[in-house]
Symmetry: C2
Subunit: 169 residues, 2 copies
DNA sequence: GGATATTTCTAACAAACGTTAGGTAGGAGG
DNA sequence: CCTCCTACCTAACGTTTGTTAGAAATATCC
């Protein structure tokens, strides 16, 4: 609390004027991070032109996720790192937010499969878990000041859509 | 320290007979986790028959990583979650271990590319980052008691090698 | 300028923390 | 049986932590 306060140019006691407790700050940080990403991905998908291909849509969703994930990395990386260490009550609150976001992806990927774009033997939930895991890990190594997020998103979408091995194997 | 001691059926003061400090325990936990995974993946690759295909090798490497990652999840999940929160000295020590393991994957993927198995436009380092991110995220949702790790490894290898979208897009 | 509201500070508190050093218990060896 | 070694316990310590309540500072309104 003293370090958080310092970064706000306040003292620890002052934080309690704005927040009821440290746990409330935790709850807000964990939830806001995912909510921001959720909104960005939803917007990316809803902004897609009617004739967008499957990989275009995938690129949009991935791009939306990565841009916001990295823009709000103070929130999102906190979520990824400390979620399992916070009190159950806070985890439960955040699980609700996480589930809402997961449902967005599951719906999107199910749509792709229903449209015949996604391989029949690929389970949308498995793909979503792998995908989000891969995207979130960028928090640990990608530096937006050095790399281009859109390029990163395109590379990831391409590898996930088309695979890393040459076709014909 | 009191909680760690309790799980060892000891008292906190007793831990200092075995370890110099809490930071030493941290260092060991972070390092051992990755070293175990490193050894398993190296063994999986060296055990591959001479005529193994690219995807067979990839499956082996992924399987080695996932089996050990999940077997030693107390160590490996600690690494993934708290690495960024430990003192610089401990991070630096662990970075050396991490880099050694990364070099193994980079070498393996570079071999695949040199052999013409990996797409020319796929950067081995990017693939490795995405791959390890996706694999490590399984710590957060996969329950070895409920799911089969080998099946998981096969699904991940397949999706990463061949992509999730139907070919022809 | 005074009253009120908002925001921050301060000093303090109890609890938790990492660690220490001496003590204790049990086992091994002579 | 005594000595030594290993492993653990204990009580204590200084530090850090989250939080509180009253005071003070600042801003707003009339």
């Amino acid at each position: 609390m003293r370090k958080i306060a310092e970064s706000c140019e306040m003292k620890a006691g002052s934080l309690y004027y704005h927040f009821a407790s440290k746990d409330q700050i935790l709850t807000e940080v964990l939830n806001i991070g995912i909510q921001k990403v959720h909104a960005a991905v939803a917007r990316s998908l809803s902004d897609a032109p009617a004739g967008a291909t499957a990989i275009d849509k995938l690129k949009r969703a991935i791009s939306g996720h990565l841009h916001t994930l990295l823009e709000y990395s103070s929130f999102t990386s906190a979520n990824v790192r400390i979620f399992r260490q916070v009190p159950d009550e806070i985890q439960n609150s955040n699980l609700e937010v996480r589930r809402a976001y997961e449902a967005l992806w599951d719906g999107f990927l199910q749509e792709l499969q229903d449209a015949g774009e996604l391989r029949n033997d690929v389970d949308p939930r498995s793909l979503r878990l792998m995908l989000i895991g891969a995207l979130n890990a960028t928090l640990e190594w990608f530096d937006p000041a050095l790399g281009n997020i859109s390029d990163l998103a395109d590379r990831y979408a391409d590898m996930l859509a088309n695979g890393a091995l040459k076709k014909g194997d």
